[in-house]
Amino acid sequence: MSVPDYMQCAEDHQTVLVVVQPVGIVPEDQFFRIYKRIASVAQVSIRDSQRNLYIRYRHHYLPENNDWGDFQTHRKVVGLICVTTCGSGKEWPQTSERFHGQKEVFGATLYDSRLLVFGLQGEIAEQQRTDVAFYPSYDDCPDVEKKVEDFVESIFIVLESKRLDRATDKSGDKIPLLCVPFEKKDFVGLDTDSRHYKKRCQGRMRKHVGDLCLQAGMLQDALVHYHMAVELLRSVNDFLWLGAALEGLCSASVIFHYPGGTAGKAAGRNPSAAQGQAADAGKRHRPGALTTNGISADTSSEIGRAKNCLSPEDIIEKYKEAISYYGKYKNAGVIELEACVKAVRVLAIQKRAMEASEFLQNAVYINLGQLSEEEKIQRYSILSELYYLIGFHRKSAFFKRVAAMQCVAPTIPEPGWRACYKLLLETLPGYSLSLDPKDFSKGAHRGWAAVQMRLLHELVYASRRMGNPGLSVRHLSFLLQTMLDFLSDQEKKEVTQSLENYTSKCPGGMEVITLPDGLRLHPVPFTKLPIVRSVKLLDLPVSLRPHKQKGLMENSMSTKSPFIYSPIIMHNRGEERNKKIDFQWVQGDVCEVQLMVYNPMPFELRVENMGLLTSGVEFESLPAALSLPAESGLYPVTLVGVPRTAGNITVNGYHTSVFGVTSDCLLDSLTSVRTSGCLVEVIPSLPRLQLSTSLPRSAHPLQPSKEELSSSVSVQLFNGETQQLTITLENIGSEDLETLEITSKISNTKDGISVTGLPISSPLRQVLKPRAETRPPGSESSKTDYNHVKMLEAVMTFKYSGGAGKVEGYYRDLTLGLHVDVEPSVFFTRVSTLPATSTRQCHLLLDVFNSTEHELTVSAQNNQDLVLHASECQRMAIQVDKFDFDTLPQPDQETVRYTSLKLLEEERLHAQASMINSTLGITWDIPSVRRKGEASVEGVLNQLVLDHLQLAPLQWDVMVNGKPCDCDIIADCKVGDAVPLEVKLTNRSKNTVGPFALTVVPFQDYQNGVQNYDLQDAVTFIGSNTFYIDTVNPSEESLCLGALLFLYSGDFYLNIKFQDDSVGKEPGAGQGKELPLSWFGLPSIHIRAQEAPMEAGA
């Protein structure tokens, strides 16, 4: 006996073995249909007794095993049912022959046999035979079960008779010695008359009767017989049979204690019957116990029952003993192994796992000689199953894996990869490995990585050999994703390489793979290739950011909390993710999400087709491909897309394609990803303006970068230079531009730059004109001071809107920063005035300094050009007409009221200075670099100079001989003639002036520094030499007349001296202060008196 029946359990000892076999040609499926129907008759209640007969059916049984039938009667084939197809009567004899042949095989042990003939009709089928049943077809055989029951009853009758025969067979007849096959040769020539031999015969027979009793449903009898057999066999040291007797005892006790059976659910023996038995187990009458009734002649009584039956603990003890006895015989390996299995099943019921494991451990080492591969697989599988039964899941998994490996052992010509794969899958729970990647997303992986990895590798390999590359890809992806931390660099390389090999044939995807047995393999998103650390939705670039119209601005402040400020920040990640971000995206515009990723692999990682997964809004994702260097640090990756509709968009995750496996990675399942929110509002589309300028763009940010600028230009100018800038706006969006508003703002200096040319015309012209630096002229500073470059900045804002976005009240800002580096050109280091000969004019003296490195020409209106070398300073004199500042426009009342005095004063000064500037028109020109510009004196003018340049409010006109006399005009007169002198005062000031007193003093200038005022003899006044001018009201005139008489010829000068007479009583009491001296700039008068005509006349 070499093939163990691993499915055996203790209660099988009470069954009778019936073999069901096909004879001739029987279709397999038909046979098994019939076999199943036969096998359903597993328990038959015997009429007239309350005993049950249990039947074990086999469709395959080695006759060799049958030889052990005397040793344990349940191994003996006592019934044979043959199933055959017989098409016609002709075949019948042959079929019958075959049936008999089959009977021969088990002939010695058979109690009865049956032949089920299918397909035969007619004469032969009509005959009534007990051992043959005819059915027209496999589908038309309603009474198969009935026939089988009859058959079983007939077996019972034989069994019962045999039992009675043997049980009562103690009357001195010679008891035959029962043997197992390998014993037969040992007993040759043994003394059959010895007491020892007799006892042995008796003991073995007792044991045999016990078996029969057990099969016949007489449990108590069986127990008694077994006990007696143990006694007898122990005394003669017949260990093999002693073991069998002990095992019989155990079996009977197990049947008594565990009426539900020990096979467990897996064995599936008539479950309804088992349940029924279990239900009334407590009060149930064991068939064997019913001694008062029926044909049973149980020798034991109710009293003896408890004594004879083993306690659960004893059962195990006896099993141990039995197994130890079996172990003495090498040829009884199968018996020993089966006993172990049976004991384990009992222990499993008793929940004594530790002891069970000892039995199993023992079973593992029972050597059954050379096993076929199939037997090995069976053995390992059953070990796995038994370990599972006792709760040793790891052991179970271990053996299952061994069985799986056995399926594909190299010695097997046709490896069963499918079976291997199936078995491997079954080991997963034992290694606490779930194939759902979600179970791995929570924190660090904890488990037996080494063994789990091995198992995954095996799954990959098995599925590949099965010819299911999709499955291998899924398993390999899983391995890579979940075991990444445990893979060595070399392994990482290998795994990814083979993954790429597989995916080249079968790309991995996100679909759930359902295996034939219903196991669902969830997709494995590669959330670790690359690892994403943070996800950040980016605002649009400044120029494209939408703004809400102020008027339409809703209360954007969060009204959730009654507090304006709270230091408590809710650290709730989930909430944070759902939080709406406080900027908007615009429909139709490219929006960006920045991911910080890193590559954990020791080689370059190519990620293809990386894009965003969104919901809420129709979104066109524009996937990117990236390549991350080996074990990179955090790398920013920007994923872009275009929202196609308006609404709220949620970024749910991203998708990638790595090593040919596409993954959808959802942020919800990635707890390690930091994000500041994934929900953002998409507003309806707006036009998009593109700005270009005639000047090159500058990367140079404006100095005070309080606001972000869409673009900026920078230009280098010399002080006073003018540069034209053309700004072109182009609508590159899909919406029409409906409104455009332009404003400009000078950012850092108050009046350093002037932007003129607004409002817009096409093309838009902007004139930039840096002004001279404001520098107090008095401060003498070193020349290097003038060399510093000054920066001027201005911002132009284009506010525009249109399309659907405008309806919603959104607009966009486009800002252009102007950055001007102003290099100094010319400076006026000093300014002063010299009175000109005319009171209406004066000389402006300017010290001009060329601070450039070039030769420079300075020119002013009506003046000669002045050439200045680099860093040269020269004085320039310009004769200018005095200015009448009163013609400047006066600020209106409104402005005056709301502006501070100081400001007004500045305003006035500025207006005056620009008037002077424009009159002077000083320009510079650097021929070598073809640059030219203006030079402003504005900054250097001080009050004194201004006063000098101003026309006095009181205008004095002196007429000699009726001719206006001013400057260098020489009035001619004749000696002896009265020369009329007219002094006219025009009051252009706002106040009434006067009265004044003017005294005319004549003198002679000898041109040598000597002035002679002693001219009483030479000049006589006709009338007074003093004029009195009455009060003159504003814009009125006053005229004084007088006359002079020159007595000698010569050059005379008249000095008109002024006396303020307005407050005559208190002369000089402050009036002079009120009216500045310059107001009284009276022209000096040069008169040449000649005699000649007089002489001629004389």
Binding site: H393, R394, F398, R446, G447, W448, V451
Partner: protein, 122 residues
């Protein structure tokens, strides 16, 4: 001779595992892994009986083909000397403020201890 020493966390995954014949490490992984069934069984059985009077040195788990698997519990001082040393070393590891309970043990001192145990016994 000790050929493989493993420290197992209470969630039944290895905190530390090291074996002398490095070429067949996986075999030891399997051996230790399957032994855990017995540990689990023993501990649950003990727990049922009396939680306080646990026999912390669980002794010989079972002999496998080539090796005998012994087991000790780290909660309290175990009996045999070899295990006491191991336990002390383990306690040191646990006392390390930078050690995160549940992480795999990466300690030179513990490594050395284990090596000494393996060498000494061999």
């Amino acid at each position: 001779m000790a050929v493989c020493i493993a420290v197992i966390a209470k969630e039944n995954y290895p905190l530390y595992i090291r074996s002398v014949p490095t070429q067949n490490e996986l075999k030891f992984h399997y051996t230790v892994h399957t032994s855990l069934d017995v540990v689990e069984e023993k501990i649950s059985a003990v727990g049922k009986a009396m939680a306080d009077q646990r026999e912390l040195y669980l002794g010989l788990l079972y002999p496998t083909e080539d090796y005998k698997v012994y087991l000790t519990d780290y909660i309290s001082v175990p009996s045999p000397k070899m295990f006491r040393k191991l336990h002390n070393s383990f306690t040191d590891v646990m006392c390390n403020p930078f050690y995160n309970p549940g992480d795999t043990i990466q300690s030179k001192a513990f490594d050395g201890m284990v090596s000494a145990m393996m060498v000494q016994a061999s």
